[in-house]
């Protein structure tokens, strides 16, 4: 039951006294066309209970059949996590009673997971690398979706009844379980976020999952325990369930460290239990203590035969793996010649793909970076969206750059053209035409503007005539103002000096 506000100590105090140990169980929904054991479609957001077969509903007499694609996706995940792949493995029934599974068991794997003993390097934002060891990655199926009705908040407390949609029931899942992660210290919350981000990136890169956390494609259970520094034995852990955004993972781990430290400070002990994460208060509350109901009485699934792998099959799948994200980043940074900091900024802004495409389409790395990290990011910040969601494409950048290169517009006009593109006025070329943006290249018009500027500032004109060539900037400024920025500043400078008979 939920308790009153938990006592917490400051994070710095908690870390000064206790050594945190983490562990994660991340569930990844695969993006196969059909479910794990039935040919029902694996689709998000359809009308309730329409993507179901008798297998999904656990009706009597049904026979599940394994989706080969799901097995191959699972092996790919294992290979990407550096895991060994079992030569032979089986499915097992995990028994529990809850309406999200109509069969009263979940088909999962028990003591022989398909993937085991892996490790991945997790890079934090400042470049520090932690190695996280993977205990196992096993195949299982997702449960149905419950909606609690009648309660004030839509949560189970106070609910009168629940409605169940089994469209999600049976969607293939891979559960990735880490070994205990020690030694993260004060960086534990950051590492937690980076780990889940890395898993999401890997499965997305493999194209085995849509990896959209807001749709529950990637879900994290975070285990946290504390122990005094120097103690080898782990403390009692809590398991915060269903932390489903990267930011929440970081905050949940941080909160649990602060909460458990407060308990231990007072001589109390941590209860082994599941906890619920609340985004609104950024805190966890007590869920269900570990009990004999957690005795799932696993036994081998009699309706499914073992999955036996061969070296050839595994190597075939390995040959299909895309370049790992970490290696790709290293390669691109070297190819583009960005500094470590510049490159991390690009990655953190989520613009690596956009910049890669822009460069592939012919822009120089410097030009691509200037536009995406400069003008585009600035406008995204104002609009409060991710730069990649602004609607600017690599083609937009290429077109703007070509317009500049050809001398039709200058940087300043290009920024106006970008504004036009974002306002839905069309492509950069269309915006340039419709808004009449063009560098004034007609010397007659320019000379007129120059004469005007010289007349307006006769003292400056005299200085230039007297040899103070650096004073020309003030006249150039006047001309640019008069032409509303549509002149080529270099050409203006030449013409002014020519006009005054001075040689720059």
């Amino acid at each position: 039951m939920a308790t009153a506000t938990e006592q917490i100590v400051s994070f710095d105090d908690a870390i000064a006294r206790y050594d945190p140990v983490l562990g994660f169980e991340v569930h990844v929904e695969l993006n196969t066309k059909t479910k794990m054991f039935s040919s029902a479609p694996n689709v998000f957001g359809d009308e309730p209970n329409t993507n179901v077969t008798p297998v999904c509903l656990g009706l009597p007499g049904v026979l599940p059949v394994v989706n080969k694609q799901a097995v191959e996706y699972s092996i790919k995940i294992g290979l990407a996590l550096g895991c060994k792949i079992a030569e032979s493995c089986t499915f097992a029934r995990k028994q529990y009673f809850y309406p999200d599974t109509p069969k009263n068991f979940q088909t999962s794997q028990y003591d022989d997971p398909i993937c085991f003993d892996g490790a991945i390097d997790i890079e934090l934002e400042d470049g520090t690398v932690f190695t996280v060891e993977i205990e196992r990655a096993h195949m299982e199926e997702d449960a149905g979706k419950l909606t609690h009705m009648g309660g004030a908040t839509g949560r189970i407390q106070g609910a009168e009844y629940s409605l169940v949609d089994y469209n999600r029931s049976g969607i293939p899942l891979v559960e990735i379980v880490t070994k205990p992660i020690e030694g993260a210290g004060a960086r534990a919350p950051e590492l937690a976020k980076a780990y889940v981000a890395a898993i999401r990136e890997i499965v997305k890169n493999l194209d085995v999952s849509d990896a959209r956390m807001e749709r529950g494609n990637v879900r994290c259970d975070a285990n946290v325990s504390l122990r005094p520094y120097g103690q080898e034995k782990f403390g009692t852990r809590s398991e915060t369930k269903n932390v489903n955004s990267l930011r929440s993972v970081e905050h949940a781990v941080r909160f649990e460290i602060q909460r458990q430290a407060a308990l231990l400070d007072e001589g109390g002990s941590v209860v082994q239990e599941t906890r619920h994460w609340h985004e609104d208060t950024r805190s966890t509350t007590s869920g269900r203590p570990k009990s004999d109901a957690d005795d799932y009485r696993y036994f081998p699934e009699p309706d499914l035969v073992p999955v036996v792998t061969t070296k050839e099959w595994i190597e075939e799948l390995r040959s299909q793996l895309p370049e790992p994200p970490a290696e790709r980043r290293k390669r691109l940074q070297e190819a583009w010649g960005y500094s470590g900091e510049e490159f991390r900024d690009v990655v953190n802004a989520g613009l690596m793909d956009s910049i890669e495409e822009t460069i592939a389409a012919g822009a120089s790395p410097a030009v691509a970076r200037k536009w995406w990290m400069g003008e585009v990011s600035r406008r995204a910040k104002v609009a409060e969206v991710d730069p990649s969601e602004l609607g600017v494409t690599p083609a937009t950048i290429i077109e703007l750059n070509e317009l500049i290169q050809s001398g039709k517009i200058n940087d300043k006009l290009a920024r106006q053209a970008l504004d036009g593109v974002l306002a839905g006025e069309g492509t950069p070329t269309e915006v340039v035409e419709q808004r009449g943006l063009a560098v004034v290249s007609d010397d007659t018009a320019l000379l007129q503007a120059i004469d005007g500027a010289l007349a307006a500032q006769p003292d400056v004109a005299d200085k230039i005539r007297g040899g103070k060539v650096q004073a020309v900037g003030a006249i150039v400024g006047g001309v640019m103002k008069a032409t509303r920025g549509q002149a080529d500043a270099g050409r203006v400078r030449e013409l002014i000096l020519e006009r005054l008979g001075v040689h720059g």
Binding site: N51, L57, L59, K68, P99, V305
Partner: protein, 98 residues
Amino acid sequence: MSTLRREQVAHLARLAHIDMADDELDRMAGELDVIVDSIKSISEAAGDDVPATSHPIPLANVYREDVVGETLTNEEALSGAPDSADGRFKVPAILDED
């Protein structure tokens, strides 16, 4: 020689959500004991060279291609439900889990 104690049967009954009266627990402890003893004779027959198996036929890799098949309509799916609402199965609120 009872190897299966009454408390163990009560524990299993609780896990399986089966209500059992005291006399039923006593009787079942005895009956299950006989079953367990009978199964035990298999491990006597099978030597160390026989691997444990979950299937009587040595079959592996029975797969289905990832192709969408026929599904039930919403009406068909709900036709066996004791209660339903909004196209979904209606169940009592269960409070001890979330």
